[in-house]
Amino acid sequence: MALTREQLAQRVAQEFKDGYYINLGIGIPTLAANYIPKGIDVVLQSENGILGMGPFPRDEEVDADIINAGKQTVTLIEGASVFSSADSFAMIRGGHVDLTILGAFEVDCQGNIASYMIPGKLIKGMGGAMDLVSGAENIIVTMTHASKDGVSKLLSNCTLPLTGKECIKRVLTDLALLDIEGGRFILRERAPGVSVDEIVKLTAGELEVTGDVPEMIFEI
């Protein structure tokens, strides 16, 4: 079974380590904040200028001056700091954030990522994504493995305008966890109940499958 959005968030949160400063993109990455493994602490960076982003506010706490990069009202945790966009991206571009998680339309086995526009159809804009993928050492892309029509989004070469070139090393899809190394995808884990064959079929880019590929484990 393909992972649900919640499971994607849960699996990606397993990559968190104690003491990590983490930037979570809009959508599924943001949900990961709900699944921080027990016993560890992480601090969330929001690229509009927060280190130490907290959960959504209670109704009476809503403050129009405290929003995240998705323009949602949020809170600040104890020990938070707030800064300008120039300072925020100095932090990001300078490689000080330990882990960045963001969504994508396509990735390819060169580590390219496309996430900000579909020519003629959709112009979202890159926001901070180009800075994020160029600044971080440690990036996980979360996305669906293929379109609803079964068209793979894990390609040999991205077809859409790139957000970043040769910068993605790990992808978590609703079907699999994959690394990108040496110009190919390497299958690391399968979603529970998803076969290697199914993943192979839906991966257009070169894919390496070695030995038994374990299923993802979710704590109950």
């Binding site: 690229e47 929003i67 707030v82 990001i92 112009i123 890159m126 800075d131 160029s134």
Partner: protein, 233 residues
């Protein structure tokens, strides 16, 4: 002290000198920390053919979106279009020219514009459409693109507190692009929620020194929220 009193008493005077074809650098992120009333004054003036640099273009109903709906804008320099249907439509139709710029690059271009740095190298956008036509250079085995500074005829911004000298304090994420935007305008206009006495602000805690502020005006703000998200527990 007259020479350092930056206070302007009307929005009309605050935007005096803005004419068709000028470039405006604006602070704000989404609808957070935007110079609401300065934007409304530009709408009222009806100035045309403007180039606007701002992370977003507000929404259809608020912020810089107001200038789009009156067709006052010729070109936008921004990182994000999403959730602004009018902006996307005018961009797709070619009515306005849009220079999509990565958010961090945009912030740094504004900072550079105010800081006497004409250009800098950044990894953001290398190998993407943003890098098209820009110089690529390798430093320590990595590729970077050259980005030039951004300056405006006017900058418009919003701060929280100020003294009459224009020393500014921003509040929470309403800070965002405001400090850099202010430094990059030939004439910088800042609206604030409160003006305190000179000497009331701790010198260590001023976010932007008054030297960058040409005109200061006290306003009242709607502070619209784009995504009101709450939890129940």
């Amino acid at each position: 002290m007259s020479g350092f009193n930056k206070i302007i008493n009307s929005y009309e005077d605050a935007m005096d000198g803005l004419v068709d074809g000028m470039t405006i650098i604006s602070g704000g992120f989404g609808l957070c920390g935007i110079p609401e009333n300065l934007i409304k004054e530009i709408k009222r003036k009806g100035t045309k053919d403007l180039t606007v640099a701002s992370n977003n273009c507000g929404t259809d109903k608020h912020g810089l979106g107001l200038l789009l709906s009156d067709h006052q804008v010729k070109k936008v320099i921004a990182s994000y279009v999403g959730e602004n249907a009018l902006f996307e439509k005018q961009m797709m139709s070619g009515e306005i020219e849009v220079d999509l710029t990565p958010q961090g690059t945009l912030a740094e271009k504004m900072r550079a514009g105010g800081a006497g740095i004409p250009a800098f190298y950044t990894p953001a956008g290398y190998g993407t459409p943003v890098g098209d036509g820009k110089e690529v250079r390798e430093f320590n085995g990595r590729k970077y693109i050259l980005e030039e500074a951004l300056q405006g005829d006017f900058s418009i911004a919003k701060a929280w507190k100020a003294d009459s000298h224009g020393n500014l304090i921003f509040r929470r994420t309403a800070r965002n692009f405001n400090p850099m935007a202010i430094t990059a305008g030939k004439i910088s206009v800042v609206e604030v929620e409160e003006i305190v006495e000179v000497g009331d602000l701790d010198p260590d805690q001023i976010h932007l020194p008054g030297i960058y502020v040409d005109r200061l005006i006290k306003g009242t703000f709607e502070k619209n929220i784009e995504q009101r998200t709450v939890r129940n527990t």
